[in-house]
């Protein structure tokens, strides 16, 4: 997970406060002025009209997951940290956060306005810091950590000094996260962690991890779980990169061997880690589906795809037109859905269950657009011919399967919709009441 998760690429609302329905207060205007001055001073404005794609112009790499060599990857992360630090120093690092931890205590509207403004500038992509760390672990720390821990880590995270990762999944605990087997055993004022985590995005850059561990195997599986913040530099933490199908290595295996974590790094109560974990997962589901202004949004857009139709000589091809229209209809309507959720949020009302629909549509739309693009490109997708906007689609195409898996698989999302939104009965679970037993082999 290293890029923002847009659901309506490329027709960005104009980056002004006036495009937001409730942006009438003068404080918003003052904020816009302050933010614009900051951005003008520290970043370059993108030439206007970049939303309109001119075929053959500009960067043609389109990837959701990078596959750069480690030096390039590292340089990008450094740039992300530097930009986050600059934001933070000028009061834009944590716009909605409490002031005692370095935030500005402003409204979500301010946050949104800032994002819209920043989308008009060329700035480093900070997804490596923000998506998991700031977006998911930050809110969890705020809700469940002790005061000293909040003071110690939150400012560092929002300054870009501490990247956080999510040490949740294990070989035996994916969709069934409550099946985690990594053991946490209390030893005085410390806990000793032993186990293996897997698919951990950004762990190779992270200073901090949130680990979900088994503290009491004699309780049913949802009960005996405790969550910890883990300093990734502690002895016994070993991060091994995993290469994903796109070719790059952005997720990892993390081995925890006798890692000693102080008790004050515990999140929430002992054995109450499932509730803490829910805080994180809810933030994850809420964050998927926002809008961004990166290369993916630019490519998965009406402007790009219609320019492609023409460039590939398919303007009069009835079959290609029909498929394009189907993809664009869904893409545009999903954009409307997100706009409406945003309006709901800005009106101070709680968003409804539409966010789960948005997540499913997002992965559907990206896959549909990638396969359509591949179809329009034709055989030039199979090798690098040097033609702009052709082979470059392979990175996005290869990234799309992950979108149906990460952050809760499609099937799990449908279970959630069926059970929590529509009120359908759960499947009779066979293992929710019985005491957790550590998996002895392949199956538990």
């Amino acid at each position: 997970m290293t890029a923002s998760a847009p659901a309506t690429p490329a027709t960005p609302a104009s980056p002004t406060a006036s495009s937001s329905p409730t942006a009438s207060s003068s404080s918003i205007e003052a904020f816009v002025e302050e933010a614009s001055a900051f951005l003008d001073e520290h970043a370059t404005r993108r030439p206007t009209g970049t939303a309109r794609v001119v075929w053959g112009e500009g960067e043609d790499r389109i990837s959701y997951f990078g596959d750069e060599p480690p030096e390039v990857d590292k340089a990008k992360v450094d740039a992300a940290r530097a930009w986050q630090r600059t934001r933070h120093e000028h009061g834009f690092g944590w716009i909605t956060g409490p002031t005692e931890y370095g935030g500005r205590a402003l409204s979500p509207l301010h946050d949104l306005v800032y994002d819209q403004l920043e989308a008009g500038y060329d700035v480093p992509d900070t997804g490596v810091i923000s998506l998991i760390g700031l977006g998911m672990i930050g809110p969890t720390i705020l809700a469940h950590a002790r005061e000293e821990i909040k003071q110690r880590y939150l400012p560092a995270m929002f300054r870009g000094d501490a990247i956080a990762c999510q040490l949740f999944s294990e070989p035996g605990a994916g969709s069934d996260l409550a099946n985690v087997a990594t053991r946490a055993v209390r030893d005085g004022e410390e806990w000793v962690l032993n186990g293996q985590k897997v698919w951990t995005s950004v762990a190779h850059h992270a200073e901090l991890g949130m680990a979900v561990c088994r503290s009491d195997p004699s309780q049913p599986k949802h009960r005996g779980i405790t969550a910890f913040l883990v300093d990734m530099s502690l002895p016994g933490v070993e991060v091994r990169p995993l290469r994903q199908m796109t070719g790059g290595a952005e997720f990892n295996e993390v081995f925890l061997t006798d890692v000693r974590v102080p008790d004050d790094h515990r999140l929430g109560e002992v054995d109450d880690g499932w509730r803490v974990t829910m805080t994180t997962l809810m933030s994850e589901r809420a964050s998927v589906g926002g809008e961004g202004a990166g290369p993916v949004e630019r490519a998965v857009s009406r402007s790009y795809l219609t320019a492609m139709l023409e460039a590939m000589g398919l303007s009069r091809d009835a079959a290609a037109r029909r498929r394009l229209a189907e993809v664009l209809a869904d893409l545009t309507a999903t954009g409307y859905l997100n706009q409406q959720s945003l309006r709901t949020l800005l009106d101070g009302r709680a968003p409804g269950p539409e966010a789960s629909a948005s997540k499913l549509m997002f992965s559907h739309n990206l896959a549909a657009a990638s396969h359509l693009a591949a179809e329009m490109v034709g055989p030039r997708m199979i090798a690098e011919t040097g033609d702009w906007g052709t082979f470059s689609w392979n990175e996005l195409l290869l990234g799309t399967p992950a979108l149906r898996i990460l952050g809760g698989t499609e099937e799990i999302m449908k279970n959630i919709i069926g059970e929590r939104v529509l009120g359908l009965p759960k499947e009779p679970g066979t293992d929710t009441k019985a005491p957790f037993r550590a998996p002895t082999g392949e199956q538990s």
Partner: protein, 379 residues
């Protein structure tokens, strides 16, 4: 050409409107009543029609105030249409209030509006629109029906119009015909000389369809002859935005029906909704419906010209495609969730299935609406 909306209802007013339409329909137009009237000669319940007009004023919602309406827009009309779609209420609502009034508004003909909108708004005049001809294609130009100018503002029409909604029983027909100046819209009153109206056997018994034969039939020009294509295109935005509201209202009824059944029907010792195959069918219906709902809402806002809405041509075309597909999908899955009972005449699922197919095809069908979407974007 935007039709300005003078009044905008707040969230509370919209909710009040929804509740009053819903309770009236629950009371007076439940499923058994719908089945009764759909098989009657008239095809709808005249007293429900009157109560919708007199008690709630549904027919007048989107008619401008100076023409006897409430002066609201598509957003408010959409609330009522969702309820009418949900209950599959038979009657000339879509034909008269959406297409008839919509055509008068789209043509921007002041004197025709003054003459006919108050009657439509009161529910006393039933208007409808006749565009499609014997080849069954929806088009906005190139009609075989011809209009001949007979003298000062007086015309006669010759031709045949097919697939006209609620043709039998209408008081006023808006007829598209070619003129020497290009396509135009014309008003023909019921009982006019040389007008023959026949009912056709319809796929959806809650939505009547007929045919018009015009032989030297006297007509009045609606708007400037030659302006018909522009007026029809504009009308199409309003009409498909309205249809989208009706589609999502009906689709939501299908989803609710399916979920209720999946919770209660037991097989293999457990409710079928606990089986993932069924649960996921419902989740897919929900997802498509959420997107369709968003598209319908945005289309209404766009047609009303709300400041942060997308262009009406885009939003209406998106909504027509997305809501047509979603409703058809949901109507099919509803039968699947119900199993054999869903395939019976007694179960309402087939009525929704029929409505879904008719709605999907009445303005041309998938090939037409996807192509129209690209055209709206200049592709």
């Amino acid at each position: 050409m935007t039709v300005t909306t003078t009044a905008i209802a707040g969230a509370e007013e919209l909710e009040d409107l929804r509740l009053s339409v819903r309770s009236l329909l629950a009371d007076k137009s439940d499923e058994s009543r719908v089945r009764e009237v759909m098989e009657s000669d008239l095809g709808y319940d005249a007293s429900v029609w009157r109560q919708l007009a007199d008690q709630v004023g549904v027919q007048s919602l989107a008619v401008p105030e100076h023409h006897g309406g409430a002066g609201f827009g598509q957003v408010e009309l959409g609330v009522a249409l969702r309820e009418l779609g949900r209950a599959l209420v038979p009657g000339p609502f879509f034909s008269s209030v959406v297409l008839g009034a919509g055509a008068l508004l789209a043509a921007q003909d002041e004197s025709a509006m003054a003459a006919h909108l108050p009657g439509i708004a009161a529910g006393t005049t039933l208007a409808t629109l006749a565009v499609i001809e014997t080849d069954g294609q929806w088009r906005t130009h190139g009609f075989t029906t011809r209009a001949r100018e007979d003298g000062e503002a007086s015309w006669t029409l010759d031709g045949e119009k097919s697939l006209v909604l609620d043709a039998v029983g209408a008081d006023l027909y808006v007829v598209a015909a070619d003129t020497p100046h290009g396509p135009g819209l014309f008003l023909v009153e019921s009982g006019a000389a040389g007008l023959e109206v026949t009912g056709l056997r319809a796929l959806d018994p809650t939505r009547r369809v007929g045919r018009l034969t015009l032989t030297g039939t006297p007509a009045a020009a609606l708007g400037r002859p030659g302006n018909g294509t522009a007026a029809l295109e504009h009308l199409l935005d309003r009409a498909t935005a309205a249809l989208a509201a009706e589609q999502v209202g009906a689709a939501r009824a299908c989803l609710e029906m399916s979920v209720a059944y999946a919770r209660q029907r037991v097989q293999f010792g457990r409710p079928i909704g606990s089986f993932q195959a069924v649960k996921h069918m419902c989740a897919d219906m929900f997802t498509r419906l959420e997107v369709a709902e968003a598209a319908a809402t945005e289309a209404a806002r766009a047609v009303d010209g709300l400041p942060d809405a997308p262009p009406a041509g885009e939003a209406a075309a998106v909504a027509h495609a997305v809501c047509s597909e979603a409703f058809m999908f949901i109507a099919q899955q509803t039968i699947q969730v119900h199993g054999g009972i869903g395939f019976t005449w007694e179960h309402p699922a087939h009525l929704y299935f029929r409505r879904a197919k008719v709605s999907q095809l009445m303005f041309g069908g998938p090939a037409v609406y996807y192509e129209r979407l690209l055209e709206r974007w200049g592709v």
